[in-house]
């Protein structure tokens, strides 16, 4: 049983009631004004219209646990049976698109390479893709863009101890004269221990600049660190699909 003195209800709510009365009086006075009434109604209508105009979204619920992907025991009709068989055939055809052996995925934006075996990631390593830089030759007027191409490629050849045959842009970039003797274009060691050629002059190879891995610094090839390159060399035979995005 409480021993506190009882406080009358009105005395406790005094200030609140007073404020409420004042608000009501002011609102009443305002609403007696026709212009204010019209403005308030227009604003309310506008806000209501605004709230009801835009996009009406509905959530997609995840499937219930008992909904099975497996076909029903007996199709309802001959047509349903035919469609079921067609669905299974198409699903199998799509599953076959995923390479069963080794394949390589390169995210050129984030400079990451993944070596896959079936659906399993065997290796993930930083790499360096094309810088996107534009090189303009001052006098000759030629222009090169150092992008890595996107799409699906294949390992077309594999080279141990590759020798780089420097293209024109390599000399132009360094401010050197383009040699007339093809032998002067050869550079040893700069591509690392291995190179996997995937077409149009592009390769996955090693680098002397491992500290820059993870940044887009190459001229379009994919540079890889020494250890991951050894692993890729070991596991990626000729014909290995290379997906670059």
């Amino acid at each position: 049983m409480s021993t506190e003195p009882e406080v009358p209800e009105g005395a406790r709510e005094g200030p609140a009631l007073s404020i409420a009365r004042r608000v009501a009086a002011t609102t009443g006075a305002l609403l007696r004004n026709r212009g204010v009434r019209v403005a308030a109604a227009s604003t309310a209508l506008f806000l209501l219209a605004l709230a009801g105009t835009g996009w009406d979204f509905r959530a997609v619920a995840p499937p219930a646990a008992d909904v099975s992907v497996s076909p029903p025991a007996k199709p309802a009709s001959r047509e349903a049976a035919r469609l079921l068989a067609e669905r299974q055939r198409l699903e199998a055809a799509l599953r076959r698109k995923v390479p069963r052996g080794t394949w390589i995925v390169i995210d050129q934006t984030h400079n990451r390479l993944r070596l896959m075996k079936g659906e399993e990631t065997v290796l993930e390593a930083p790499c360096s893709a094309g810088s996107g830089m534009v090189l303009k030759e001052g006098s000759g007027g030629r222009v090169w863009v150092f992008d890595t191409p996107r799409g699906r490629f294949e390992v077309l050849s594999r080279l141990a101890n590759p020798v780089w045959r420097k293209p024109d842009w390599a000399f132009v970039e360094e401010g050197e004269a383009i040699p007339k003797d093809p032998g002067d274009r050869l550079e040893y060691g700069s591509l690392g221990e291995y190179a996997l050629y995937f077409g149009n002059g592009y390769m996955i190879h090693g680098t002397l600049y491992e500290r820059l891995l993870g940044r887009p610094v190459s001229h379009g090839c994919i540079r890889l660190g020494r250890e991951p390159l050894r692993e890729v060399w070991r596991l990626a035979p000729l014909g290995t699909p290379v997906y670059i995005y």
Partner: protein, 242 residues
């Protein structure tokens, strides 16, 4: 003899009649929900097979499986689990415009980011070969080391991938907020989005009929924004029938 012939004819007629009566029950009809569902699935799979046979990148949104995959030739190159998937239509005064039956049966094409991803290419004018007079425009020093993707691109949240068929995919980051976006940029993003929503609903500006919305982990949303290839396609599977 005649009686037997008549009996035979009667039996034949009865057989035909019973088969005829039974036929509508087993024949496929538009009202058979199971067959209609299967037909829809087969149609989508055919479209997916066609996409997988092409050379273009496409996104595959499994709405009920809650996964968004960047795909090339049927191979998921990157997979983003979604914590929420919604789809919406424009509404005016609480009345929405239906998207039309089977709007999601077809794949969508030529997806582009909105707002666009900015990329400044570094341009370098090569120095003159040794022994020659230097080029007047030649870059004075070696080019700087390019920034990483995380340093280069600021990522708005939400952002949209808008397709040519007046369908868009809105990508939201879980927890909200973009990457590398200042408070002012975020406020501007929100206001621009609301105004764009109003304009679209009223039929002004971009004529959008359906918008899909996925909520991804912030890292995934940012990663997708940075690396989305140009002209990407979209196929939606697993939307419940309406």
């Amino acid at each position: 003899m005649r009686a037997r012939d008549l009996l035979f004819l009667f039996a034949l007629a009865a057989l035909v009649a019973t088969r005829g009566a039974a036929a509508p029950a087993s024949a496929p009809t538009a009202d058979d929900p199971e067959t209609a569902r299967l037909r829809g699935q087969v149609e989508r799979l055919r479209h997916e097979r066609d996409l997988a046979s092409g050379k273009g990148f496409y996104l595959r949104l499994d709405a009920s499986g809650r996964r968004l995959s960047l795909t090339l030739q049927g191979v998921a190159l990157d997979d983003y689990p979604a914590s929420g998937v919604e789809w919406g239509v424009p509404e005016v005064l609480f009345v929405n415009r239906g998207p039309g039956a089977d709007w999601d049966a077809m794949p969508f094409s030529k997806g582009r980011l909105e707002p666009e991803r900015e990329r400044d290419r570094l341009e370098v004018v090569a120095p003159a070969p040794a022994g020659k007079t230097p080029e007047p425009e030649a870059s004075p020093s070696p080019p700087p080391v390019p920034k990483s993707a995380e340093e280069t691109y600021s990522v708005p949240s939400p952002y949209r991938i808008v397709f040519a068929e007046r369908v868009s995919l809105e990508v939201r980051s879980k927890g909200g907020g973009g990457r590398n976006r200042s408070a002012v940029q975020r406020l501007a993003d929100a206001i621009r989005l609301r105004l764009a929503d109003l304009a679209t609903a009223l039929g002004l500006g971009a004529k959008e009929r359906v918008r899909l919305r996925v909520t991804l982990e912030a890292d995934d949303a940012a990663s997708l924004y940075r690396s989305l290839p140009p002209d990407v396609g979209l196929i939606v599977v697993g939307l419940p029938p309406r």
